[in-house]
């Protein structure tokens, strides 16, 4: 009897323990599946799912002929999961040896990264070439590179390198566009990132990895420029040759369509390769700034066109009006001489241009008076940015006649382009306005924006009418006539009627006054006169062999214009009289 009771007790105990066990399990299940389920599910997802950002493809930049200037090239980053190598049957040294050969890295250095069994990630190389990434793929397929993966990332590349670098800009290591179009259109080029969810098998194995795109990345817009890489190449080549020939320090060339304001070429020297911008060293403070829009200079005699345009338009002068050029003139207590200190006697306004008479310019400026003169200077766009769609434009420096720093002599010096600071683009745009029957166009570089939504064309924008059509045509005619008898006439092109104005400007010192030896030689011209297709501005800084614009800058204009006539298939002018004399002054 006692034994039976004991047996029943044991059974009860076992039952109780089993029940307790069942209750514990049930309780744990309730805990895991109901009370803690959200946190645990999230933790589980975190362990085997990755919510990563899809980097959008940055938009390409193409020239007017759709040649790529900047684009995204997919290059692979070589990554490793060192914790996967140990279980693969291959040693870290063996993998390092295989990879080191391909990556050009000492195997010992790679082995240091791979020989860390607890680590789940190591970056072995960034942006390897397609040839190397293909070789690594083959290694992986043959099982010789366990735990190694390739992550293709869009890298910014500039196929033409230095061509148009200041216009294109570059993509910095910080991950944003800088300078030029890259900087100005950063928002459009960047696109919008997407989201990708990837799920991997346990223990980090890449077998059976699955990905889901939660949000598609929106690629950046492609930009079609007005820049023509052929014209850009011609401009850069001729500029470089002139800088070398005349021992100059730097220079700028702008080629513009006067009818629309489209910039066809914008060349600067020295320049850099956008692919390796970090290697560019320049004594200039802001080395990457585009000198054509960011550096201002005193334009010198090329500015006389603006003075004449204003005076003609206001009816102050006529093309045939004469003055006595005695070689020097006193105005505002300052004596101003002609550049060659020569007197030309009785001269008309065309002679003023042909001889580049400072005396004549002071005479015209004084007749205009300060209010009218600066009104026209402002109307031509000086003293304010042109609004070009490029990063980093400055507005120049036009003296304010109401300020304490303005003197009556300022009007005289400003009339022939000294004491006033402009950018090369401002001057090219102003001359283009004269060529374009007096209408100032906003210069622009991007003509089309291609997005997934469609194509948006950027239409040319007329800013304002600066002078009357008759004024503009009269000045063009005077300029063409003057070009045939000016000091730069030997640079006219046989068969074609072209016109332009030279400039040799002094360079101001920070301490006041001007450099005695240094000059800026420039030329701004257009052609063909009967139907101008282009305006070309050439600016050569600090030429040491010759200081004059007629000898340094005008030949560059001639060389570029000659090639453009051929490139654009422009037939010779019908009424052209060939002038090709070799004398100069």
């Amino acid at each position: 009897m006692g034994g039976k009771a004991m047996g029943t007790g044991r059974i009860r105990l076992i039952q109780a323990l089993a029940l307790l066990g069942a209750l514990v399990v049930a309780g744990e299940l309730v805990w895991l599946h109901i009370l803690e389920s959200d946190q645990l599910a999230a933790k589980a997802q975190q362990q085997h799912r990755n919510d990563t950002q899809i980097i959008p493809q940055r938009g390409s930049i193409l020239d007017a002929n759709h040649t790529l200037l900047a684009t995204a090239e997919y290059l692979a980053d070589v990554e490793a999961a060192p914790n996967q190598i140990r279980g693969s049957g291959r040693s870290a040294q063996a993998v390092a040896s295989e990879l080191g050969h391909l990556l050009g890295v000492p195997p010992e250095q790679l082995a240091e990264h791979l020989n860390q069994p607890t680590k789940t990630y190591a970056l072995l190389a960034k942006g390897v070439t397609p040839h190397v990434s293909d070789s690594i793929k083959r290694l992986k397929q043959s099982g010789k590179a366990p735990g190694i993966s390739l992550n293709f990332i869009p890298y910014r590349t500039y196929p033409l390198g230095m061509i148009g670098a200041h216009v294109v800009g570059f993509y910095s290591q910080s991950g944003s566009g800088q300078y030029g179009v890259e900087g100005y259109y950063e928002e459009l080029l960047r696109g919008a990132p997407g989201r990708r969810l990837s799920s991997s098998a346990p223990f980090g194995s890449d077998a059976g990895e699955a990905t889901w795109v939660l949000e598609t990345a929106e690629p950046g817009a492609d930009l079609i420029l007005t820049l023509d890489s052929t014209v850009q190449h011609i401009a850069e080549r001729e500029l470089e040759a002139a800088i070398e020939q005349f021992g100059a320090s730097s220079g700028t060339v702008i080629v513009m369509d006067p009818g629309t304001g489209a910039i066809v070429a914008m060349a600067n020297r020295p320049t850099y390769d956008s692919n390796s911008y970090q290697e560019f060293h320049s004594p200039v403070q802001d080395a990457f700034a585009n000198p054509a829009i960011s550096m201002q200079y005193e334009p010198g005699s090329t500015f006389k066109l603006i003075t004449l345009a204003g005076a003609l338009d206001a009816g102050i002068i006529t093309p045939t009006m004469t003055f006595i050029d005695s070689g020097s003139i006193e105005y505002g207590g300052v004596e101003i001489k002609n550049w060659n200190e020569k007197a030309h006697g009785e001269s008309d306004m065309t002679d003023l241009i042909a001889h580049s008479s400072n005396v004549g310019a002071v005479y015209v400026g004084s007749m205009m008076g300060k209010d009218l003169f600066y009104e026209y200077v402002s109307a031509f766009g000086f003293g304010a940015p042109t609004g070009v769609d490029l990063w980093g434009e400055v507005g120049g420096d036009v003296p304010d006649p109401g300020s304490l720093y303005w003197y009556p002599s300022s009007l005289a010096t400003n009339a022939f382009g000294q004491g006033i600071a402009v950018t090369p683009l401002q001057l090219a745009t102003a001359v283009a306005a004269i060529v374009n029957d007096g209408v100032l166009m906003r210069p622009f570089v991007v003509q089309e924006i291609h997005t997934e939504a469609g194509v948006r064309r950027i239409e040319p924008t007329a800013v304002r009418r600066v002078v009357r059509t008759e004024t503009a045509r009269a000045l063009v005619s005077m300029l063409a006539d003057a070009s045939k008898r000016s000091e730069s006439r030997m640079h006219l092109i046989e068969g074609y009627e072209i016109a332009g104005k030279t400039g040799t400007s002094s360079i101001p010192l920070e301490t006041g006054g001007y450099h005695e030896d240094l000059t800026i030689a420039s030329y701004v011209g257009f052609g063909p006169v009967e139907n101008p297709r282009f305006v070309i501005l050439v600016k050569i800084d600090h030429p040491t062999v010759e200081p004059w614009g007629s000898l340094v800058a005008a030949p560059v204009f001639r060389a570029i214009a000659s090639e453009l006539f051929r490139y654009y298939h422009i037939p010779p002018s019908t009424s052209q009289q060939t002038i090709a004399r070799e004398d100069t002054n």
């Binding site: 040649t67 790529l68 200037l69 684009t71 995204a72 090239e73 997919y74 397609p130 293709f152 590349t157 196929p159 033409l160 390198g161 061509i163 699955a210 990905t211 890489s229 052929t230 190449h233 080549r237 046989e494 068969g495 090639e563 006539f565 051929r566 037939p571 010779p572």
Partner: protein, 157 residues
């Protein structure tokens, strides 16, 4: 009488046929369990088959997407290589240094005689010359001569 009544045979009620139950009531429990398992299996298969197909399609889509990405990458690479190959500095270098080429000199433009247009000459080069009137042929000859030797050459004729 009462006895008589009691001995009288009672009318025989028509025998009712036993109610027939559905066939599965007659199945043995083992067969029923087997069939249950089979039904569950079929249901599971019906559920799993499309799920599997969807998963398979998903993997195939992912594989295709990866292929598309790769092809796009290769296209992009080719586009870049084309752009690099059209670098005019390199082309000019090859043209000048290796091929000994020089920039073209003066380009001569041939002017189309305006009178030929005015005479409404046939533009088709294959048109039969016999169809031209004699005066038109003479006009062409004059135009060619004037183009070659100048207008003055013909003045004496």
């Amino acid at each position: 009488m009462a006895q008589q009544e009691s001995v009288l045979p009672r009318p025989v009620a028509r025998a009712e046929s036993p109610e027939r139950k559905p066939w599965y009531y007659e199945l043995s429990p083992a067969v029923a369990v087997d069939m249950g398992i089979l039904v569950l299996f079929l249901i599971a298969m019906l559920y799993l088959m499309p799920t599997g197909q969807v998963a398979d399609a998903g993997f195939r889509i992912q594989a295709l997407e990866r292929s598309i990405e790769q092809v796009e990458r290769e296209n992009q690479l080719l586009r870049t290589q084309i752009a690099q190959a059209s670098d005019l500095r390199a082309i000019e270098h090859v043209a000048r240094q290796q091929l000994g080429m020089e920039p073209a000199g003066q380009v001569h433009f041939a002017q189309v005689p305006e009178r030929a247009q005015q005479l409404k000459l046939p533009l088709d080069a294959n048109a039969s010359k016999e169809e031209l009137p004699f005066s038109n042929r003479w006009a062409i000859i004059r135009e060619r001569f004037s183009a070659l030797f100048g207008e003055e050459f013909l003045h004496g004729w």
